[in-house]
Amino acid sequence: MSGPISRPSVVRLGFIPLLDCAVLAVAHAQGFFIEEGLSVELRPEPSWANIRDKLSAGLIDGAHALAPLVLASRLGLGAPAADLIAPMALNRGGAAITLSTALQAAIAGAPGGLKAVAAARPVGQPVTFGVVFPFSLHSHLLRHWLKGQGVEAGQDVRVIVAPPPQMAARLIAGELDGISVGAPWNRAAIEAGAGVEAATAAQTLPRAIDKVFAVRSDWAQANPQVLHALLRAMIRAARWADAPDHRQALAALLAGPAYLGQPQALIIRALELDGVSFTVGKADWHSAQRLLTEMIDAHQVVASDAATRSADAMMRPDLYAQAYANLDMA
């Protein structure tokens, strides 16, 4: 890496403790960032709203982010509009819906399925699903699944938002009847004997991108070399993370208190069984248009030329390709 030393001393990155923060965690812990000449500060954030707002306000430089959240920010949904871009995808798969064993049994025993079960609930105690964020693959997955059951979210059943690490616990405690969340939290609920898998993003939305690496467009323009180096490190990290030989080491890293703080065995089974892949890197405009279509379908945004153009400019496969081309994959 030659060139003028226009790099800021420290690059500040944020993440949410989930299996799919692996690319950032590996790039940091395995020294890929350092090898690319970067000094990175990687910190967990307590909420997606914080990730969005800190990124928009310039308090962090880049982040692990829900792909639909990046598009929502571009469109000014839920917060002031921010010109965020996603030069790299971080994972596919891992998101799933888990039903409580009680709800699963009730549905199996009711000829009218979930709709009948929901209708039979007393007033004030609706069947309640938890989802991680309004603008997320998980909310689209849940919407599709509910539709397939002939059920309308917000009418027949209640949908609330809760942070991923709380989901399994709240399903186990009986506060939630179903959850749509990323790995490893579905498996945590299933292994506790509290839940049954009902659908996975890997099957329902196989091409959908779950998380992306997001930065502000103006930051990317001002720091092209830093971004280039970040992408190179993360492309290498994604390869490392997907290699079966590294599964134990990856699980040990993610299980640690700096990331998930969960049993290593649970992380290993989530890696083996939940269909997560990290080497999905390049995200093109098709994937952004699919996100927009989902959001229009969910009545989160109205279709317009402006929205289409905004989605077109969200993914930056050009930046990814530059970093990838420049990489010696020895």
């Binding site: 307590p46 928009s56 309004p134 938002v161 942070p163």
Partner: protein, 194 residues
């Protein structure tokens, strides 16, 4: 106007609540977690929610609708578009404001201003306290290192201190850190460690 303060830090929340007491007419409640407020959220029906950015409940708020059967109104992040940079400043201070959709910005602004100033005061207090503790720890280390040098090298106190200061300047590190190292190495040499 009813204000709900959600903050996992009760000391900071108390500071915000006290500050808001000057704004009239206002009814203020504070909770550690949003869950705590869920039960009587409908009863209290806040117009403004001030939430600490380190609370994990922000995402829950983002999707909330005020439980009103006839007209459920969304809770939205408060953005005063007439003041550029305000949203950034609030996030920088570690606080976010949410309002029930439709509330006039000029009524919300003083509430957010108070919250931001109290959060900043608290941040400053915490930073000062951390610095005071670090200074105290450094002074203890320096005293130990000085004593060590005085004993082992038969130096007087001032010369011992000057030697430490030179070591710190030469290595470009804080004098407290250099003193810590010196004491630690001396213990290794004496066989007290490892």
């Amino acid at each position: 106007m009813r204000v709900l303060v959600v903050d996992p830090d009760p000391t900071r929340a108390a500071l915000v609540v006290a500050g808001l007491g000057d704004i009239d007419p206002l009814e203020v409640r504070s909770v550690l977690t949003f869950d705590e407020a869920q039960g009587d959220f409908a009863g209290f029906a806040p117009d403004v929610i001030i939430i600490a950015c380190d609370s994990p409940d922000r995402d829950t708020l983002e999707n909330l609708r005020v439980a009103n059967v006839h007209n459920p109104r969304p809770v939205v992040m408060f953005v005063d578009r007439s003041t550029p940079g305000l949203a950034e400043a609030a996030i920088g201070a570690g606080v976010a404001a949410y309002v029930v959709d439709g509330l006039a910005p000029k009524r919300v602004r003083p509430v957010l201003d108070v919250a931001m100033s109290r959060f900043e005061v608290m941040q400053q207090l915490r930073a000062d306290l951390a610095k005071a503790q670090a200074d105290l720890a450094a002074r203890k280390s320096i005293d130990r290192a000085k004593g060590l040098l005085m004993r082992e090298r038969k130096l007087d106190e001032e010369t011992a201190y000057n030697l430490l200061r030179k070591l710190a300047m030469d290595s470009g590190r804080p004098i407290g850190a250099v003193a810590d190292d010196l004491v630690a190495y001396a213990e290794v040499l004496k066989g007290k460690r490892i």
